[in-house]
């Protein structure tokens, strides 16, 4: 018995690629330089407007106080000295929220995608209510409940629960999409090979949902990390997260360079999370080479 070595498939070189086609039709072929230059100018101007608020904060955070400001990193040293409690609290809240959300979302998504039951659509709609209701409404609702019922106001757990209620659907949707897109053939193959349902779930289904789950984690993290309005309502005086700190600082002391540094730190960490996500998952996932 001999297996034939597989020959690589021939590549069709006769076709003109889309890029070439567009290149041929580009108007700038008629007015070289001028149209190209204008196009870049337009894009840059748009970007400038878009980036300016972040740029200004970043610039301001790198200056010393006073009449003749100089470039310095002292503000950041101050942030990691005096504001470190807020940053740590924000990290803890984000981590705990993401973790608890995961524990709720994965079984929920599995049930919503894989099983048929009465009232499924209704439940799904209810679960998504936080997605399209304003944060202020959620905040007011939570503060009423916390004060009068659970006594969760001004507590770490209360803060996390508030975040979970607000961000749960953001995690649920990508995980559900990942499950829906997952070909059932892998689970069937696992069952046929003699694996039980639980073994199949943990060894096959869950790892293959990886891209969806990680998208959910990043989205969830960035939202919770920067959440301000709901926190303002339910956090209480002992639990000042970093965004809340920024707000308080501005409220009491005006716009200081150190506050700008704290805001910039928040921004940079969100940005790094997104970069990390795209580096780790984005490009490979898009190419179908996730694993």
């Amino acid at each position: 018995m001999k297996f034939l070595e597989v020959r690589p498939q021939a590549v069709d070189r006769g076709q003109v690629s889309r890029k070439q086609k567009i290149g041929r039709l580009r108007p700038s072929a008629l007015f070289p330089w001028i149209l190209d230059g204008l196009a870049y100018l337009y894009i840059l101007a748009g970007l400038l407007v878009f980036i300016m608020p972040f740029g200004v904060t970043l610039w301001y955070s790198l200056l010393t106080r006073g009449k003749s400001p100089k470039l310095t990193l002292a503000n950041y040293r101050y942030v990691f000295g005096s504001f470190v409690d807020s940053l740590l609290l924000s990290s803890k809240v984000s981590a705990v929220t993401v973790l608890l959300n995961l524990l709720i979302v994965i079984p929920a998504a599995y049930a919503l995608v894989c099983y048929e039951f009465k009232g499924k659509k209704f439940i799904l709609t209810l679960l998504n209510v936080p997605l399209y209701s304003p944060a202020i409404i959620l905040g007011i609702g939570l503060i009423l409940i916390y004060h009068f019922t659970y006594g969760l106001y001004n507590s770490f757990l209360g803060l996390c629960f508030g975040m979970i209620v607000g961000t749960f659907p953001l995690m649920l949707l990508p995980v559900m999409v990942a499950l829906k897109d997952l070909d059932t053939v892998y689970e069937e193959a696992a069952l046929c090979l003699g694996a039980g349902p639980l073994y199949t779930f943990f060894k096959v289904t869950l790892p293959l949902m990886g891209p969806g789950i990680s998208a959910g984690i990043i989205l969830n993290f960035v939202i919770v990390w920067n959440e301000f309005l709901v926190t303002l309502f339910i956090a209480g005086p002992d639990y000042i997260t970093a965004p809340l700190k920024v707000y308080n600082q501005i409220l009491w002391f005006g716009y200081q360079n150190t506050t700008a540094a704290l805001a910039a730190t928040l921004q940079i960490i969100s940005f790094l999370a997104l970069i990390l996500y795209f580096k780790l998952f984005g490009s490979r996932f898009l190419k179908g080479r996730f694993f």
Binding site: L4, V185, A190, L193, F291
Partner: protein, 365 residues
């Protein structure tokens, strides 16, 4: 190893019947193919045998054991999917070890079996690769290995080759047959490709619209189709509908009247001569295989029951054979010419010639 038996197995989805009272006996070590057009219920039948689909009624036995209530993962089957279904996040080794680990085999046993099975499919040295680093044929071979490594009682194939290119399909189908012969496992193979079915099966089950149309060997199916569906599905036959007249019990010959065109036909030997007369005036479908028509340059040769004059409409060169469409009495006959002779007809559209034929397959309506 075990035989597989289906007794009146049906599957209904709401009002639609996907599989309709299918009964089937597959002997131990037999290679059986479910053949039929898409939507005929062959895949559903296979999935019911695997336990992936629950039958609406009927019983499925492996050997003497009733399997209806046994969950998929305890049936000890090997299912090869159309898409190879290798776990994309695992290496070849982990894919092969998956079922064994789930069934708690000892480590040294797993290692030994993986090595053996990779040797069997001639893929040794690929243990560390991920599925996307393999070519289509290699992926399908690994998925075959993954199934064999667990030593299943029954092998089930769901069109495993349909996503591969022509050459690869040809080599792999013989390898599958060879592997099955060597491992002596009962195999049930689903395909819509009759040449695939003919190449590898011991017996073929032709299905259509959820029902079994005919069970038999390649020759049974090809030469003696029992229903119009089978005849139409197998090969590109010429088909005439007509009325049987002038049955001669002595010679076993009759005349088929197809709207004014008379063809002499031989009534199947199996029919008792006493019953011959009763065939008269009956509606009959007559199938004529292209290769059973001889294209002649001169008329009047005695060896054919029928000989007609015609004109060549179209000639299609297919390599080893030449497909010639001949217009006879206002109908188009598909004929096939092979051997040296085929070359003399190439490009001869419009040529006047004769066709002779004797062998027709009759199906009573």
């Amino acid at each position: 190893m075990a035989s597989v038996k289906l007794v009146n197995v049906s599957k209904r989805y709401g009002d639609t019947v996907a599989v309709d009272r299918v009964s089937l006996d597959v002997e131990n070590g037999e290679f059986i193919t479910l053949l039929g057009p898409s939507g005929c219920g062959k895949t559903t039948t296979l999935r019911m045998i695997a336990g992936l689909v629950e039958p609406s009624e009927g019983e499925i036995y492996f050997g003497d054991k009733l399997m209806n209530a046994v969950p998929v993962n305890q049936r000890n089957i090997g299912f090869v999917f159309q898409s190879h279904a290798l776990f994309p996040h695992m290496t070849v080794r982990d894919n092969l070890a998956f079922g064994l680990k789930a069934r708690k085999f000892p480590k040294h046993e797993i290692e030994k079996r993986i090595e053996e099975v990779l040797h069997l499919v001639e893929m040794a040295g690929f243990e560390g690769r991920k599925p996307h680093q393999l070519s289509g044929g290699q992926q399908q071979r690994i998925s075959l290995a993954r199934v064999l490594v667990g030593d299943p009682t029954v092998l089930l194939f769901d069109e495993p080759l349909s996503s591969l290119d022509f050459n690869l399909r040809n080599t792999l189908k013989f390898q599958i047959k060879e592997l099955q012969r060597r491992t002596r496992k009962t195999a049930i193979y689903v395909t819509h490709d009759q040449s695939e079915a003919f190449a590898i099966s011991d017996r073929i089950v032709v299905m259509d619209r959820g029902r079994i149309q005919q069970i038999g060997t390649q020759l049974d199916i090809y030469l003696r189709p029992q229903t119009p569906v089978v005849a139409n599905f197998i090969g590109s036959h010429n088909c005439f509908r007509g009325l049987l007249t002038e049955v001669d019990a002595e010679s076993g010959l009759g005349i088929l009247d197809c709207e004014g065109w008379s063809i002499k036909v031989r009534i199947p030997e199996a029919s008792p001569s006493a019953a011959m007369q009763s065939f008269e005036r009956r509606q009959v479908l007559a199938y004529l295989r292209p290769e059973d028509i001889e294209v002649l340059e001169h008329p009047g040769e005695e060896r054919h029951l029928n000989c007609f004059q015609g004109r060549i409409q179209q000639v299609i060169f297919e390599g080893s054979t030449l497909r010639v469409q001949v217009e006879v009495a206002g109908r188009i006959l598909q004929t096939e010419v092979s051997g040296k002779k085929r070359l003399s007809f190439f490009g001869k559209e419009g040529l006047s010639l004769y066709v002779g034929f004797s062998e027709l397959t009759l199906i009573w309506e």
